[in-house]
Amino acid sequence: MSAADRNLAFERLVRPHFDRLYRLAWRLAGSKAEAEDLFQELLLKAYGLLDQLVSIDQPGPWLGRVMYNLFIDERRRFARRRLQLVAEGELPGDGLAAIAGSSDPVMDGQRRETIRRLDRALAMLSTDHRVVVLLHDTEGYKLEEIQELTGTPLGTVKSRLHRARAQLREILEKDGTLC
């Protein structure tokens, strides 16, 4: 296969999944810069595994698992990341940048404040808990999909989801977001 044919085959396999993979990268990494790096690294990795990729029935879930494993590998490499977690809300590309304005500046302000508090609360969760609750409650992944993606037993996924919601509830009640 020529290089051009190889590149074309690769693009046909991966491009249909770009939006979902980008969203996954963002939810895993929590900041735009890191999400873009993770997305890029996935494509590099997948390109090297093209011979394997072409024989896979469902490339989407496979690509998601590869991305998750890259994320975990990178997280293990830097076990301590508190600075990044604390600072991410101040870095470019945080969730607040995605809020579309409305015609009601008061509502916009309230929503921004709510999301700012949710950012802070999510940053206080462990990565395992944050990822599960964001994938399930924000991205709409089923528990079984999270189980497959993360390679975590279903019971553990359920307990992490339950614990994550409980922790968020406690934090958001304490700061007045939930009354």
Partner: protein, 187 residues
């Protein structure tokens, strides 16, 4: 969307409030052209990587830069004995090379002997280099905490002119400060 039914009756109402918040938790869309650029890099670099497998491993160029910086910077900050910025300029400044107008993530890794709260971190950029998402700003400052051990700060930089210069990262805590320098070369 969800067909899971594992909530306890006791937590259902509270969970619904949390889920309502999370359902609307925003996320920026990918920048226009990002997918095409990422795909082009993957095919070009992927092909090169195939040819030079022995050269590459790990999490890519950005992390490699971070590791290099850590090797150089991890010995510089040993709190609580932080010294003044003026006393700590190293004669040997680490450096990286960036490509003009091509964003690159540089991971700064700060090592601290103890956990510290209320640390102010200020990043100052040379003229012609911007932090992605902060156009026109040459300095960004915020308060954060340091944990004992290594603390990672990823910075997404883009060079708009071929001049380059020094990136300064200053940590301040209780009237003490520490300055890190990174040479940015633009190709």
């Amino acid at each position: 969307m969800h067909d899971d039914n594992h909530n306890t009756a006791h937590g259902d109402q509270d969970d619904a409030r949390i889920q309502a918040l999370l359902k609307d938790y925003p996320m920026p869309q990918a920048a226009a052209g990002f997918y095409d650029q990422a795909l082009a890099r993957a095919t070009v670099k992927g092909a090169r990587r195939e040819r030079n497998r022995w050269l590459l491993s790990g999490f890519g160029g950005a992390i490699a830069a971070g590791l290099a910086l850590w090797l150089l910077s991890s010995t510089l900050l040993h709190t609580p004995g932080m010294q003044s910025a003026g006393d700590t300029v190293s004669a040997s400044i680490p450096g990286i090379t960036m490509t003009l107008e091509e964003p690159r993530t540089v991971n700064l890794v700060f090592a601290s002997a103890t956990a510290l709260d209320a640390v102010t971190l200020t990043v100052t950029l040379p003229a012609g280099v911007e932090l992605a998402g902060f156009p026109g700003q040459s300095e960004v400052s915020w308060e954060t905490s340091l944990t004992a051990g290594r603390n990672l700060l990823p910075l997404r930089l883009v060079a708009l002119t071929p001049v380059g210069g020094e990136l300064l990262a200053r940590l301040e805590h209780e009237n003490r400060d520490r300055l890190f320098r990174l040479r940015l070369n633009i190709s």
